[in-house]
């Protein structure tokens, strides 16, 4: 097809930007953890974003703990024990808090299946025969 080429050219955009990644793992882990820990004294900000002194200290603690060889979970647990569950930017995936994940996982597919049945029942019976 003659127009295939033009579609092709437009559709595939050069992805050359994603080639190098020279940031070391520790820094990546630190940035990941920053985004998953809330600043306890700021409304709705993670410590990655916050300019408060507490957030700065918390960032330092994260870095130190990474250097000491703590795992991500250990670091998150440390902050959780110190400031409570709400310091995590996500509810834990266990116990009661798991419902936050469970509801979308169960409710949405069941509604979708319901919808498919609804469409089926709406389909004109004459046409089906």
């Amino acid at each position: 097809m003659p127009y295939l080429k033009s579609i092709l050219l437009c559709s595939i955009i050069p992805f050359s930007i994603f080639c190098s990644n020279q940031i070391n793992d520790d820094e990546n882990r630190a940035q990941y953890l920053f985004e998953n820990i809330m600043c306890p004294v700021c409304d709705g900000q993670t410590i990655s974003e916050s300019q408060s002194q507490l957030a700065k200290n918390m960032r330092d603690i994260v870095r130190i703990k990474i250097e000491e060889g703590s795992t991500d979970d250990q670091i998150l647990d440390y902050f959780k024990s110190k400031y409570g569950t709400s310091v995590l930017s996500n509810p834990p995936k266990s116990g009661f808090y798991f419902t936050v994940w469970l509801v979308p996982i169960i409710v949405l597919p069941s509604i979708f299946i319901g919808l498919l049945f609804l469409i089926r029942s709406l389909i004109n019976p004459k046409k089906e025969n």
């Binding site: 992805f15 930007i17 409304d43 900000q45 996500n90 936050v100 469409i119």
Partner: protein, 656 residues
């Protein structure tokens, strides 16, 4: 002046109540004069609220600090241009702004509907005036913007420093106007339902207003993203913050609505469903007002926060109960016997589109209220943040994008599997090819590759439609390619305007996928004497300066950005100079950090001066945000597409 302002609000409140009562009485006693007078009093609210609005503007411009609101939100040093921003910077002023918008909206609506559906106008006006009187009443009794200051003040407290940004001139007013005017389609449909004249003429007007509101909200959200992107502390361009979410949810429901309204317009189906969608959007907009003004959730936005949460909560509950009663009472009138003909039809695909958009809305709402829910059960407080939303909404968005490629090629009524495969063949080839190319050259994250490739699938279906359509016209009418294309898309503006909007959504998705999967971020200490190597860039700290202003201490950092040539560290080419700043406002106890951004089509170099260690040393956070600028380019395309759809038809091409 303040007293005059309060007086205007009082008068317009009385007028709106009079209008409601007037219509009620005239309906029972069939008094035509009273009806006319009630209608005119609803019109009159507009000039009187405008006077109140002008008084507030005047008080800001003349620095009348005897008015508390002016004292709290401006000072002598404020440039007059920020008056516009200061007006909606706090709770009271933004209520006045919202009232003004509603009164403009209701005036235009009633005026235009008077000729089209006169029998429903009284009911529609009553609902509009009911909503308007609520906002006027709240101002009058609880949050008067013209309250006088208890003491004499020489100077005001000043405007919130975060609002001093070009984005702030348009983002809040557009969003507030969008949320407030959702009441218009709601009033029209509910009014028509009560009066028992649910007509297509009214629905067409609903479609137009919905599109306008949807456009305002969409652009407002995007401008907010852009603003948040340039300022540190707001989680990049989108943080799934509660206040952002309450703006997004009505937009999503309206997006569902404008799709299913197409079905109603074309096939006369989904009337009941569309009414439900309008009601949901209205309730969500009231939910937004509630969350914004003293809601119980934690957010970085606290501009309009007040202690009036319970009032807005009550109004929201009322906005659920009232339409539900009307709905249960009258819904039978909207049922029709039209059936869907097949799974393989536009009708079904629109239903699935509606489901997905509502699913995203639901998941977002669920995440928003979950912290309250968990406290209700006596659990420890929790935060539901970005990772939850990304991991749940991400897949839903991906399915939605895939549906965007299937929907347009499905026919109305009933399609055959054979024609479906014929139409999807080429896009699917492109899709597979795109996956293969990505896997070979940029193999990394399969999910990201799948997401990118889905965009190519949608793009290919749209281009295929346009190319085939243009070719057919060239063959049939011997037009040149340019004219043929213009005439093609002009022939069905709803459809092709929609495709243009789809293109903008692809661009949005491009930016979202790029930054979510490929963002690189790191903190560095940069000093004056040493180049910092990051990605393909070499960054030099050229200058730092500290300036003391009346209201702030501002530190600036200037960077020279070099790019490596021929992959050698010695061969450097200077590409640009950037400047970032970190300002501290002591009286607000607030920092405003602006990033230094070098934007390219493939990605942004984003430098945040987080901490000034000494004059020569600086802690910075650098990131590469792939394709982020596509988000901002999507804005104008989105606007063009929506306007194209809205543009009034001339008699010549009224046929669909």
């Amino acid at each position: 002046m303040g007293i005059l302002g309060t007086f205007c609000i009082t008068i317009s409140f009385i007028l709106s109540i009079y209008s409601i009562l007037g219509f009620l009485i005239s309906m029972n006693f069939k008094t035509e004069e009273l009806k006319i007078s009630a209608r005119w009093s609803s019109y009159l609210t507009l000039p009187i609220i405008s006077i109140a609005f002008s008084i507030l503007v005047y008080s800001f411009v003349t620095h009348d600090f005897s008015i508390k609101y002016v004292f709290n939100h401006s000072n002598l040093a404020m440039e007059p241009i920020y008056t516009w921003v200061a007006i909606y910077a706090g709770n009271e002023g933004s209520l006045l702004y919202i009232s003004a918008v509603i009164s403009i909206g209701s005036f235009l609506t009633i005026k235009s509907l008077q000729k089209r559906i006169p029998e429903s106008v009284p009911h529609i006006t009553m609902i509009m005036m009911g909503i308007l009187s609520f906002f006027l009443g709240v101002m009058l009794f609880l949050a008067d913007p013209f309250t006088l200051l208890e003491f004499q003040a020489e100077d005001g407290r000043g405007i919130n420093p975060l609002l001093k940004h070009p984005g702030m001139f348009t983002h809040p007013p557009l969003l507030m106007a969008g949320l407030a005017t959702i009441s218009i389609p709601f009033a029209i449909t509910t009014g028509m339902l009560i009066s028992g004249n649910y007509s297509d003429k009214g629905t067409e007007f609903v479609r137009i207003t919905t599109l306008i509101i949807w456009l305002m909200l969409g652009i407002g959200l995007l401008l907010g993203s852009w603003w948040a992107y340039t300022i540190l502390g707001w989680g990049g361009y989108w943080a799934w913050d509660p206040i952002e979410n309450v703006g997004l949810m009505p937009w999503l429901v309206l997006t569902a609505l404008i799709h299913s309204l197409i079905v109603q317009r074309r096939r006369g189906m989904f009337r009941l469903w569309n009414l439900v969608l309008i009601n949901i959007a209205f309730v969500l907009s009231q939910f937004g007002m509630f969350i914004n003004r003293g809601g119980p959730v934690v957010s970085v936005h606290s501009f309009a926060a007040s202690t009036l949460g319970y009032i807005f909560l009550s109004f929201m509950i009322l906005s659920i109960i009232f339409p539900s009663i009307i709905f249960l009472w009258k819904y039978k009138e909207l049922i029709n016997s039209r059936k869907i003909d097949s799974f393989l039809s536009k009708e079904s695909s629109f239903l699935i589109n509606n489901f997905l958009l509502l699913a995203i809305t639901f998941v977002t709402l669920w995440g928003l209220v979950f912290p309250l829910f968990s406290e209700l059960f006596g659990k420890e407080p929790v935060t539901v943040g970005t990772p939850y939303y990304n991991s749940v909404n991400g897949p839903l968005l991906l399915i939605l994008i895939l549906l965007m490629s299937i929907g347009p090629i499905l026919p109305w009524k009933e399609g055959t599997i054979k024609s479906f495969f014929k139409n999807i063949r080429f896009p699917l080839m492109i899709f597979v090819l795109c996956i293969i190319i990505c896997l070979i050259f940029f193999s990394s994250n399969f999910l990201a590759i799948l997401a990118f490739s889905s965009l190519s699938l949608v793009l290919a279906t749209i281009l295929q439609e346009w190319i085939i359509g243009t070719k057919n016209r060239i063959k049939r009418f011997q037009e040149n390619i340019f004219i043929a294309f213009i005439k093609l898309i002009n022939g069905n503006r709803t459809k092709h305007g929609g495709y243009i909007v789809h293109l903008s959504i692809l661009m949005l998705a491009m930016g979202i996928i790029g930054t979510n999967f490929y963002q690189e971020k790191a903190d560095y200490v940069i000093s004056k004497d040493k180049l910092l190597d990051f990605h393909s860039y070499q960054i030099e700290l050229s200058e730092t300066e500290t300036k003391n202003f009346q209201d702030r201490i501002e530190r600036k950092a200037k960077f020279n950005i070099y790019q490596k040539q021929n992959n050698s560290e010695k061969d450097l080419k200077k590409i640009t100079e950037l400047e970032g700043s970190n300002a501290i406002y002591p009286s607000f106890n607030m920092a405003s950090v602006r990033a230094a951004i070098h934007s390219t089509i493939l990605g942004d170099l984003y430098i945040v001066p987080s901490e000034f260690i000494s004059e020569d040393e600086l802690l910075i956070r650098i990131s590469i945000n792939p394709f982020i600028s596509w988000l901002w380019f999507a804005g104008p395309i989105f606007f063009i597409g929506a306007i194209f759809t809205l543009w009034p038809r001339t008699e010549k091409n009224t046929k669909l």
